[in-house]
Symmetry: C2
Subunit: 495 residues, 2 copies
């Protein structure tokens, strides 16, 4: 791994440092192929054909090289593809790389590029990754009946823990512990998420050599799952089914369970995602992940350390590198190459692509950790449905609905003046749609709103108490007097 | 395969049509994962996270989906990754997709995006893919001592053949045969390449289902190789070593040789590349591929049909789709699903990423084509060198050199006024560098030039006869009179 943070070198050089160090550290410095994870070097750096470039810069021209991309989990995807190539017998030893260069651009440019992973309709309303993460967090708060201060305490616990862990990691972007006061003083990016709830923008690369030979650490299980892109296509907001699918396969392949995991590196691009992920991985029951963090269960000295490296939050988040950097961190810890004196037998890495749309779970273990090394039984993953269900399109909406979840966005993409109120609205027909608030007062889950469309964007206004009373009166009157066949016009409704 | 050409639908819909048709055509409509090849949907369409998007649009949310990229061979790369996943036993059945959407942008914008695969220094001089292909063609002409009209005849033969073949392919972008006169009347893009030597800009997608079960066609061999990005790092200009590496592995894995191939689809992004590739694949000796095309050996009715589908030239070239579309075409032909009555047993597909920097060779065969189906022996590909050689950087140049190869570029990228003279210059120290001509007269391989640097770009001027005589005189005089320790300044040289 390179030192994560601001790195002035060109992206190919950053990749090369990680690659050369991994080759030098492996027992034989030769590989048959290169598998590279990178999310968007084209738009971040203007470089295309990155796989060929890296092969050439490493002095390995001739050797097959390819690039894999699954949004922000690209590093984990490269590992999976490299693993499959080795497991097939096609190659015996491959170099896996993950990297990204992002800090040279403005925050708004980076935010815009990162937001391309989001559904187009939701993007058009001004939704960014932090905005959608915030809306998921608000939904989580409501579902598990957490007060605002209780939620704040949970998120703060995760941030403090990961910064403390990062202070012990010499390759982390932030190597300073932060205080509760500093957390509380940090500005809102998108309510209820503050700056200290969001992983930073980072340059960096990670690398490892995968081999078919037996070494001290083995890849015991790996799984991948996908989930809906948009919020409006989701049935569930407080869990990422893509993680659950990936975890099921990884546990089965490794013949283990959440109880068999000693520690984990998870994708805490936002502090609430560490909490949700710790539940999706089966470490804690739904709604209990935050409490576990507050109680120190996931601290470095706790029973189940989560993100002992500092996580994306403190180690930094060069998107294409993160999924692989986690695996590098897990490997180092299994080998005892960290400052911690504790011995670990089995670790897990979980990586998230987009808003939980393309997730991976990888389980690594020391090869001396089992008395008998029985080969894993063949895993039979679920097949897709024979008749795939078509994703629904954002059809015509009714002009009223209620707030499913919301956020006030303070760091906005280019073209949007902060603050922007965003809400997922459930209309009278039960359909969901992202909409921008005409003002940002009185937002609360369940509040009734009026909806109107302007070009490609839906706008909402929260109904006042007076409006609600007027509507009830009108309905009563109509029931008594008007003919039932006569439809009320939207204009009348808003009187 | 979708109908290649101009397709007004969003990229995800184009992918979906190919995917749905492949699923419907396969015996069981279920798959465990989706492998997607696409070169640059981010910059062509503004869409990121394309793998998750496609899984969702296909109604296959939950199923693992990932995107592979190796520049213009991405479709073949996705096939290779999907093959390795099946061969490893990790999956039993996967959907492989390749696609791109390009026609909605201006030609200059598309040219710019495609040119990102080129080495940065060469790009800064105004080099485009056609420009570099043209320079390779000029070098080929010189190496094999072809007159301009002989070369023209060869390129024309390839263009005419592929357009004729395309006229029989209902999914091809161009379904009209062209005449020799039309070819000769078409404008130069970059001398000696005309419009009819270059594959068009295209929208389209291709798909297939890979399964571990036995079917009528099997993937018998697949190989990948890489080569230097820039022209200046090459030792050889008239062959693509990446194709030779890929072919060696594919032949060995399929236990066959060039003689065992009945027909081939090759990457004719430029007509000369079909000729060079037919040599790299071992079908014809170096320098003989053009003659073979002129003599009709590679025609549909010839002994070794090349690009019977029309190739990239006539079928069209949606970059991420082409490598997979070739394999779809080969499969159809092996199954007898084309208009041709001839029976084929074994076909080959060759795909090129960038300027021959990331190439694939795939061999497919009918499973009834062998008496005994012996399993292929384990292939042991060459390992990378233990101490990788570092790629050299474009160091300081001497201020004189000679033309290694050149072109006059008529279709230029944004910011360059046509025509632009480009030449690869070999300086006095034997190093190569791309340079822009201050005028475009007297260009010929071997001509002596002066070099000067302006910002990031090198400029060259061809020395006149008079200048050469003056220089010889000065050298003679100096040898007689001046002290040998005194260095001549560059300024003096140019007097």
């Amino acid at each position: 791994m390179t030192k994560f943070g601001k790195d002035p070198r060109p992206i190919v050089e950053i990749f090369c440092q990680a690659g050369q160090e991994a080759l030098a550290a492996s027992q034989a410095e030769r590989v048959e192929a290169i598998y590279i994870g990178s999310m968007n070097p084209e738009e971040f750096t203007g470089e295309s054909n990155i796989a060929s470039q890296i092969a050439e810069a490493l002095g390995l021209t001739g050797i097959p090289a390819l690039r894999i991309e699954t949004a922000s989990s690209a590093g984990a995807a490269a590992l999976q593809a490299g693993f499959q190539a080795i497991a097939s017998g096609y190659y015996r030893r491959v170099l896996v790389l993950g990297g990204e260069k992002m800090t040279h651009l403005s925050t708004s440019a980076t935010t815009r590029i990162l937001a391309e992973v989001i559904d187009r309709q939701e993007r058009q309303c001004g939704a960014t990754m932090p905005a959608l993460a915030a809306m998921i967090t608000e939904k989580y708060r409501q579902k598990f009946r957490l007060s605002q201060s209780r939620l704040e305490n949970m998120l703060c616990s995760v941030a403090l823990k990961n910064h403390l862990n990062g202070s012990r990691n010499s390759l982390a972007q932030f190597q300073k512990a932060i205080t509760r006061d500093a957390y509380l003083a940090s500005k809102f990016v998108a309510t209820p998420l503050r700056l200290y709830d969001c992983a930073p923008i980072t340059d960096g690369a990670a690398a490892l050599v995968l081999t078919s030979e037996k070494t001290d650490v083995r890849l015991a299980g790996i799984g991948q799952g996908t989930g809906p892109l948009s919020l409006r296509e989701r049935d569930i907001f407080t869990s990422f089914p893509a993680t659950r699918i990936a975890a099921a396969r990884a546990y089965q392949m490794a013949e283990t369970s959440p109880q068999g995991i000693d520690f984990a590196e998870v994708h805490d691009a936002f502090t609430p995602f560490e909490i949700i992920t710790s539940e999706d991985l089966g470490f804690f029951p739904p709604g209990k992940g935050g409490e576990a963090a507050v109680e120190g269960k996931t601290a470095l000295e706790g029973p189940l350390p989560i993100n002992p490296s500092g996580g994306l939050k403190a180690r930094g988040h060069p998107v294409g590198a993160s999924g692989l950097a986690q695996v590098v961190e897990v490997t180092k810890r299994l080998r005892g190459q960290t400052r911690a004196k504790r011995e670990f037998k089995r670790g897990l890495a979980q990586s998230t692509g987009g808003l939980g749309t393309n997730n991976f779970v990888t389980i690594l273990e020391r090869t001396d950790s089992r008395a008998v090394q029985s080969p894993a039984p063949p895993f039979l993953p679920p097949m897709s449905p024979a008749v795939p269900k078509k994703a629904s399109s954002p059809a015509a909406m009714s002009d009223e609905g209620e707030i499913e979840t919301f956020t006030i966005l303070y760091v906005t993409p280019d073209g949007f003046l902060p603050p922007v109120a965003l809400a997922l609205i459930r209309d009278r027909n039960g359909r969901l749609l992202m909409a921008q608030g005409e003002d940002n007062v009185q937002l609360k889950i369940g509040r009734e709103v009026y909806l109107r469309r302007m070009d490609e964007v839906y706008l909402f206004t929260v109904k006042s108490q007076l409006q609600k009373v007027q509507e009830s009166l009108k309905r009563l009157l109509r029931r008594g007097a008007a003919s039932p066949s006569k439809e009320e016009s939207p204009a009348e409704k808003k009187l």
